[in-house]
């Protein structure tokens, strides 16, 4: 009996492993930042390059960092979703203008609208490297203590906002002392 059961058992185990492997998304790389302090940056504002914003300035509030570029096609698709999210007033969204020409970026915002609290210029992509950015667009959720709570690689959709990001933001805001939601 075992003579037949053993190969069958091995077969089932292999099938189980392969089935799990098929469902894994190789493009999804777990971010090492989740639960860790957000990497600092101090970058000039796109609209007003004399002014700069650093991660420390944002301490004390829940905010989102949305990495975008005018050359990035899926950012264009994502833009309306970002605008809808900002319109709900749950949390400010800061843009990281990743490896972009300033004139192109400004034109892009003029054309599509500018929902960002501020967009920060990362011309050489150094801040992008610090944040482990590898595929634009990417979106991070940072809590009031400056801890990265969530990372979305690729465009954010209404569904992701509804199911993941908004509930998380509300939960994080509830944890902020002296700030009772939007």
């Amino acid at each position: 009996m075992t003579r037949y059961l053993l190969p069958l058992g091995i077969f089932i185990v292999i099938v189980a492993f392969l089935a799990v492997g098929l469902k894994l998304d190789p493009k999804h790389i777990p971010s090492p930042f989740i639960g860790k302090p957000a990497p600092d940056f101090n970058l000039p504002d796109l609209h007003n390059p004399e002014k700069s914003v650093s991660v420390k300035d944002l301490q004390g509030k829940v905010w989102l960092l949305n990495v975008w570029a005018s050359w990035c096609v899926s950012c264009r698709a994502e833009h309306d979703v970002v605008k809808r999210f900002v319109a709900r007033g749950a949390a400010p969204v800061y843009g990281l203008n990743y490896k972009d020409e300033r004139a192109d970026a400004l034109a892009w915002l003029r054309q599509l609208g500018d929902p960002y609290e501020a967009s920060l210029i990362d011309y050489k992509g150094d801040a992008g490297i610090d944040w482990g950015v590898y595929g634009v667009p990417e979106t991070f959720v940072i809590d009031h203590e400056g801890i990265v709570r969530h990372k979305q690689v690729g465009p954010v959709t209404d569904e992701i906002i509804e199911n993941t990001i908004l509930p998380l933001v509300l939960e994080l805001k509830a944890a902020v002392p002296g700030d009772k939601g939007a």
Binding site: K27, P32, G125, G132, G135
Partner: protein
């Protein structure tokens, strides 16, 4: 004139090649380290290439970053830490030995041990299978028959 054009044409591809990442090192050891490192780091955009092979923008940036760090005299460990802190263990082509990669490192040896175990059992069983299953009486008869043939 023809000779001049040919010379230019011959030199052109070489100079174009040299344009890609023309990094200069003040120490040949740094160059060796740099070349080693860019072979060890995976490009996260084009996942089955190291950053030496890839020409994705990100790979170029990571090469530049690696060059900067090597030129500043940072050692291998520092650069690998720097990258894995930002991009996760995924960027390392050679996974480090840690709790979540233990099975990865030890697994092949476990499978080898299982293989040796199964093989030994198989070899030990062999002599039993080699017996022809004849009783001594049958064997005698067989021998007699064989003798008669000769």
């Amino acid at each position: 004139m023809m000779r001049f054009i040919l010379t230019v044409l011959l030199i052109l591809p070489v100079s174009l090649l040299a344009d890609i990442d023309a990094y200069e090192f003040d120490d040949p050891n740094k160059e060796i380290l740099y070349k080693k490192l860019i072979k060890e780091l995976r490009c996260t955009v084009c996942q089955n290439q190291d950053i030496a092979d890839s020409n994705a923008e990100l790979a170029q940036d990571l090469r530049r970053k690696t060059y900067d760090m090597v030129q500043q005299g940072k050692d291998e460990e520092f650069v690998l830490d720097y990258m894995s802190q930002r991009y996760g263990d995924f960027v390392l082509y050679r996974p480090r030995l840690q709790t979540n990669t233990l099975l990865l490192w030890v697994g092949p040896f476990i499978i080898l041990l299982i293989g040796v175990f199964v093989l030994m059992r198989f070899i030990r069983r062999k002599p039993v299978a080699a017996s022809d299953g004849l009783s001594s009486e049958e064997r005698k008869r067989a021998e007699q028959l064989l003798e008669r043939d000769e």
